[in-house]
Symmetry: C2
Amino acid sequence: MSNEHHEREIGAVILAAGMGERLQDKRWPKPLARVAGMSLLERTGRTLRAAGLKGTMVVVVGHRGEEVVEFIRDRKLDVRVVENSEYLRGNATSVLAALPYVPERFVVAMVDHIYSPESVRSMLSCSGSFVAAIDTTPMYADPDEATRVRVRGGLVTDFGKGIEPYDALDTGLFLCSRSALEQIRTDTDGELTWNAFKRAWLESGREIHACDISGAPWIDVDSQQELKRAPEAILDWAASGSDGFVSRHLNRKLSRRITRVLLRTPITADQASVLSFLVASVSAGLLARGAWGTGGLLVQLSSVLDGCDGEVARARLQSSPRGAVFDATLDRWSDALMLSGMASGARSRPSTLAAYAALSGALLVPYTRAKMESEFGKMPPELTRFGATRDVRLAVLALGALLRQPTATLVALGIAGNLEVARRLWGLRHAGRFGESPMTE
Amino acid sequence: MSNEHHEREIGAVILAAGMGERLQDKRWPKPLARVAGMSLLERTGRTLRAAGLKGTMVVVVGHRGEEVVEFIRDRKLDVRVVENSEYLRGNATSVLAALPYVPERFVVAMVDHIYSPESVRSMLSCSGSFVAAIDTTPMYADPDEATRVRVRGGLVTDFGKGIEPYDALDTGLFLCSRSALEQIRTDTDGELTWNAFKRAWLESGREIHACDISGAPWIDVDSQQELKRAPEAILDWAASGSDGFVSRHLNRKLSRRITRVLLRTPITADQASVLSFLVASVSAGLLARGAWGTGGLLVQLSSVLDGCDGEVARARLQSSPRGAVFDATLDRWSDALMLSGMASGARSRPSTLAAYAALSGALLVPYTRAKMESEFGKMPPELTRFGATRDVRLAVLALGALLRQPTATLVALGIAGNLEVARRLWGLRHAGRFGESPMTE
């Protein structure tokens, strides 16, 4: 069983031997060029792992290989290195050099392309002994620079730069069977590019299956210009899909600028979470002293910063359940501090009672979600419609402070939060499929 | 695939045709005798479903069959009824009458035995075309009344009442293959008990596999005396395994008495949860008015009642994720109300600040658990050691009220709760396996 499982593990060959002429930089070989705070090599590896690849990953080095190998050793990257002295003959020599070390199914990825885990995952669901991931509606790649592909009946019939007409672009991402590739004879001492290899494959009567990954983002960073555009593309696809109204229209625009800066520093996603928490703590102290203006502004700043940790984590492919728990708990603590601060600043009995209600609501809304996810695997869909997400609640808090209306704000938040908890409990009554009694129909 | 799955579904025959002479009661036929608020028939069916049985369940009726059939129709029980006019010849005729309606693998269960889902589940993991569940250390059955079993090398070699020596008791629970049972010739017009059938099975050279379910509770309710003992046994095994110190030594002893009464009423587990919440609400009101004595007592009463919902649910085999969410959320609301009530009663600024902290702690301790369970599947084991479970926190709250020390109590609860949240966050740092970066070793 474990052996069978092992056999099915998918590995990868990361092509990192080329010179990358248009990306030439004296400071580092191309695989080590940094985009959004991370080398291209690390990003490719992390992306493949994030997409679910479990098997051996082989990095084939050539040009300035020693520097790449040293980097891999320094970072203790979990990859196998193959040195290809023939890399100048073309990148197919790198694939062939890696063949003895990969499992039967393996992905071929270019180190100078940035893929999203989604794009790799899409390809893994396609079958065939030679699968090429293609994109009919590329978001970032330039059709004049990239390899074009012609497709008929799900098969690649032709490819090359500048061919006309064409159906899609070659994404540089492939899924291959080692045993099938080993059968191709390539007895040549001349040029052996990956495109030439694919042509030999087709000429031998074999098929290349086109796997359409349109919609999943990827970018080719062949030039310095593309290298500069890449961080924006990565931030685009690192944006959270579950943003509330205030996040979408205000916070994200600001958090993205901050994240762009953070990605150039060694600051981790966890540290960004702590930063948001610290700003919330300071805002709570200011509110407690009646400094409504600065306090309110810092509440909103903390809300903006709360978007950065997720962006940093996703852009660096470091999202983890551990990070999610850490961030979520600090968020709850931040909420408790800010609400307590506001009530302390108001110094009235009604505001105290309202604060108890607001605190309970602010903590119980996420509690019911976490508890349902824990018990049901996910929140029942009919219970997820709730407009007052955290960004909205914090915006109300910030606005209430700026307008010097702490008591009314706390009352409003208390009512809204607890009503939502009640609505969820009530909704459970109808969530029959979760609670049906086991012996009745 | 779905057909294959269907083929593997395990069904059941519930033997409910016998007279149950020693359980004779004019008011109802034996399958409808009520134990802990539920008929023996419903309990058997629910137990089998709770153990994971998905296939058809056949109830074989005979003696006073019309009443049983009417009951099944009234309750809309999801079972198939087979009427066995020959039931007086012995209970094997009931098994044979049910054969055409069960899937290939099926459980044979006696309606006058009470099994725990655990006992059925244990048996399902055993293989063989005729499996008898046996118990070497029966907790409730009387070795002088039950069928004894002799076992050699995992096989039943002999059985019968009063045989000496013997190795275990027959639990009345079997797992059979329909096609194998159909091959046994039983051309007789005379007595055909299940024991006689098993003997014919052995005499035909076939094997009965002994499946040891020792440790999993079950009880045989052959007599009025055993019928009276049964609720206590059920409450024994309905006790929660995760009780805190106060629960174990105080609350459970009281909640069990209350549950015993509740089980005789139609009150559901959800309603018991609401009852505990209502008592908490009243206690909060009393604390807010400074009625420390009665308020404190009601806090503890609410804590005791909080044990009843789970006991009722488990005793009636109605535990569900939905019920767990409902109960847990009401518990959080109760905590918020009682802490707010105590702080309101104290009417001092320090008590207000302490209440904010205590409220945050009381809600965040369960939040971090739910969130970790949702993200990791379960709470990391190194983070689960926490003595201040809800029963302990409520006992401190009740005692603090009785001693008229609201502020000190809130301070203590606030510190303990938030320290525990901090400890969990800190512990996350070392929960490396949850957060390891995908490309490093």
